[in-house]
């Protein structure tokens, strides 16, 4: 019966497609949150497999902090153009102006936290009842306990103690008006699974995932790209290094890693050999407190 044996990537792929189709079948106004990172690019690839030759039953939504890597934005526009799907962009900049929000200060003033306001406004504006995201349970402790269908109240808040039991492959997407569900089709994938899948499916990625020369400063052991969005001090030493990104978030809160990897194979080799977790190595915003993610999620963050 070996003919009917599937590779683990096939299992994960089929599970993710199943979850996306549950969203299509259960919700009136879903959306796919697209950041331009490898996880959301993988989601787009899975959506193509789930719905082609039909159109996606949801638009792609990008919450733009204004602090993006230009390479990621170019990639986003090219991808949307290629697949011919609808893209909605809402800018954190506009929310800051409209709501008179205070910009965070400091060396790496990150708009990561402000993103939540724009996201919640966008959900309200379009009356989205489900938002698909690329979060994975291996990323972080709080994520490890979140459901695949994660119900949020009107304020986008997650209550870990009031989660619905999720059994078999049955997803309960019933909600009240004003509530919405965050849906995570690749919950059960690890970082390495995503890379192996990208390799197998030959999925194109923004160039910053591959080793390139860049001006960076070293900050508490992490390499941060020099850009208009961070403040340099007199003590900062700008060096040019060959780096790549393991995750793509804001330029202010995503660190680079030194690398020589120019192909997906190289990247997989480097990740297999690495001794630091994805978030630990590349996210500047997670170090603030041990429960940083738990707190942000409770407040409506992804």
């Amino acid at each position: 019966m070996s003919k009917y044996r599937l590779d683990y990537l096939d299992h994960l792929e089929s599970e993710a497609i199943h979850i996306m189709r549950e969203v299509a079948g259960q919700f009136e106004r879903p959306a796919l949150l697209f950041s331009g990172g490898k996880d959301s690019i993988t989601l787009v690839h899975l959506a193509l497999k789930a719905f082609r030759p039909g159109k996606f039953p949801f638009p792609l939504v990008h919450i733009d902090t204004g602090h993006n890597f230009p390479e990621a934005l170019e990639f986003r526009d090219r991808l949307v153009d290629e697949i011919g799907e609808r893209l909605i962009v809402r800018k954190v900049e506009d929310t800051i102006k409209a709501k008179n929000l205070t910009e965070p200060k400091g060396k790496f003033a990150s708009r990561n936290a402000l993103q939540t306001y724009t996201l919640l406004d966008t959900i309200e504006e379009f009356k989205f009842d489900a938002c698909i995201g690329g979060a994975r349970r291996d990323e972080e402790k709080a994520r490890a306990k979140e459901r695949i269908f994660s119900v949020r109240d009107e304020f986008g808040q997650w209550d870990p103690k009031l989660q619905r039991p999720e059994l078999w492959n049955i997803y309960n997407g019933k909600i009240h008006k004003g509530e919405n569900v965050r849906v995570f089709p690749i919950s059960n994938w690890t970082e390495l699974d995503v890379w192996n899948y990208i390799r197998r499916e030959k999925i194109a990625l923004p160039s910053i995932y591959f080793a390139h020369e860049r001006d960076v400063i070293e900050h508490e052991g992490q390499l941060v790209a020099v850009s208009d969005f961070i403040k340099l001090d007199d003590t900062d030493v700008v060096v040019r290094k060959k780096v790549r990104y393991r995750t793509v978030g804001d330029m202010t809160c995503t660190a680079a890693v030194e690398s020589q990897a120019t192909s997906i194979d190289d990247i997989i080799n480097e990740i297999t050999a690495t001794k630091t977790s994805e978030r630990g190595e590349t996210r500047i915003d997670d170090k603030v407190s041990e429960a940083a993610m738990e707190d942000r999620k409770k407040n409506g963050y992804f």
Binding site: Y4, I17, R52, K141, K145, N169, E281, E290, E294
Partner: protein
């Protein structure tokens, strides 16, 4: 490389968290920064070695109380397999969490403290494993270091547990003596347990045959979504999107749509945009039928030579998961795969004591974590299979119509 999902059942006292920590640590799935965080916390708590149990503590609310309140999912891989661990707390007030974690598990690790042997909790975890029909059970006799690695102690526990397994009809049971704290028989075989001839725990997890657990006989395809592009060149395209939950489908197969009973033939099957001659569980595909018939989400396409049961009267084992009690006569939505129907719990036959298997008759309500035998009537016919025969088409959830919360898990008999 394939995929094994397993659940660990036991309490903190049995060393469950330490066992998981040990599996992750020894399979090198823990990164330096995660270890550093661990060291920091360990210092705060007590002196000495890193407390591997902390690896599985998730939320701050839990850390503060020193307990686990919910199922956490952990991942690791060896060159042979990818593993997904559902880490569920073991106390009786968390029966619903164990049921949740067990619902997708291929295998359960039931932890026994070598000093205590088979206890009430062991029976409870075994009863749940049996009710949820987990195909494989590993009885890990932990803390062997505290009983001088005694073969007699281990053998006596095996004899005791074999009786439990027999009474529950658990067939594939494997016994492994371990010490999670010291790593004995976790990844490598331990010299201190030289009398034990079987594999280490990890080795067993890597080798246990799970392919045969996928049912390739009873073909079931619940329709999730109908794809109709309605463009000029794809004007007549009408594809049924879903996941094959069991069985094999081939082009030309005679099929029946349930519950309507309408018959047709498979015209073609698409997998990831490509046409294929056949497809099988658990692939997600698009199926096209030869006839233009009315099919929508919630219908199940089955092979005509192998039919599920179709009924409005269901006998179920039901695990109640809500704080609000269940009372006979209450109405709920019943969801089985993509099908949602209104239903009423007509009668509670008995309540099952999950520690002793004793039946309590004459009850009319069920509370959080209770397991009952009940009969349910649905507003329209439901295609299903007996849970013990086909897990994928015999499990259903109950949803409260007003709160929308998932309140019950049904194993249809």
């Amino acid at each position: 490389m394939d995929l094994l999902r397993f659940i660990t059942a036991g309490s903190v006292d049995d060393g469950k968290s330490t066992l998981i920590g040990r599996l992750l640590y020894d399979s090198k799935s823990i990164m330096v920064d995660q270890l550093q965080a661990l060291e920091k916390q360990t210092k705060n708590k007590q002196l000495g070695e890193i407390d591997l149990a902390l690896l599985t503590d998730g939320l701050r609310a839990e850390r503060e109380q020193g307990i686990t309140i919910d199922v956490a999912y952990k991942y690791f891989a060896t060159p042979k397999r990818k593993f997904i661990i559902a880490d569920a707390p073991g106390h009786i007030q968390y029966t619903r969490n164990m049921v949740t974690g067990a619902s997708t598990a291929d295998l359960a690790i039931i932890l026994i403290d070598a000093r205590n042997g088979v206890v009430e909790q062991t029976r409870r975890h075994s009863i749940i494993s049996s009710l949820l029909h987990i195909p494989h059970v590993v009885v890990a006799v932990n803390k062997m270091d505290l009983v001088d690695y005694s073969q007699d102690v281990f053998n006596n526990i095996v004899i005791d547990y074999a009786e439990v397994a027999r009474s529950l009809g658990l067939k594939e049971v494997t016994y492994i003596p371990i010490s999670a704290v010291h790593g004995d028989n976790i990844v490598e075989k331990s010299e201190k347990l030289g009398w034990y001839e079987g594999p280490s725990l990890l080795h067993f997890l890597e080798e246990v045959e799970i392919q045969k657990d996928i049912n390739l006989t009873d073909a079931r395809f619940p329709v999730q979504y109908v794809i109709r592009p309605q463009t000029d060149e794809l004007h007549d395209y009408r594809g049924y999107a879903g996941k094959i939950i069991s069985g094999i489908y081939r082009k030309g197969d005679a099929v029946t749509v349930q519950p309507s009973g309408i018959q047709s033939k498979i015209q073609r099957i698409e997998l990831g945009g490509k046409e294929v001659e056949e497809a099988f569980a658990p692939q997600s595909v698009i199926i096209h039928l030869e006839d233009d018939i009315d099919i929508s989400r919630g219908d199940v396409i089955v092979r005509s030579d192998n039919q599920p049961k179709v009924s409005q009267e269901l006998e179920v084992f039901l695990c109640w998961m809500d704080n609000k009690p269940l009372t006979t006569g209450n109405k709920y939505l019943l969801q089985i795969n993509s099908r949602v129907v209104r239903s009423v719990v007509k009668n509670i036959e008995y309540k099952l004591d999950v520690n002793t298997l004793q039946k309590e008759y004459g009850v009319s309500t069920a509370g959080l974590n209770d397991i009952i035998k009940a009969s349910i009537k649905t507003a329209s016919p439901v295609p299903y299979d007996a849970y013990q025969q086909l897990r994928e088409n015999g499990g259903a959830i109950l949803i409260d119509e007003t709160s929308h919360v998932t309140v019950g898990a049904c194993m249809i008999q």
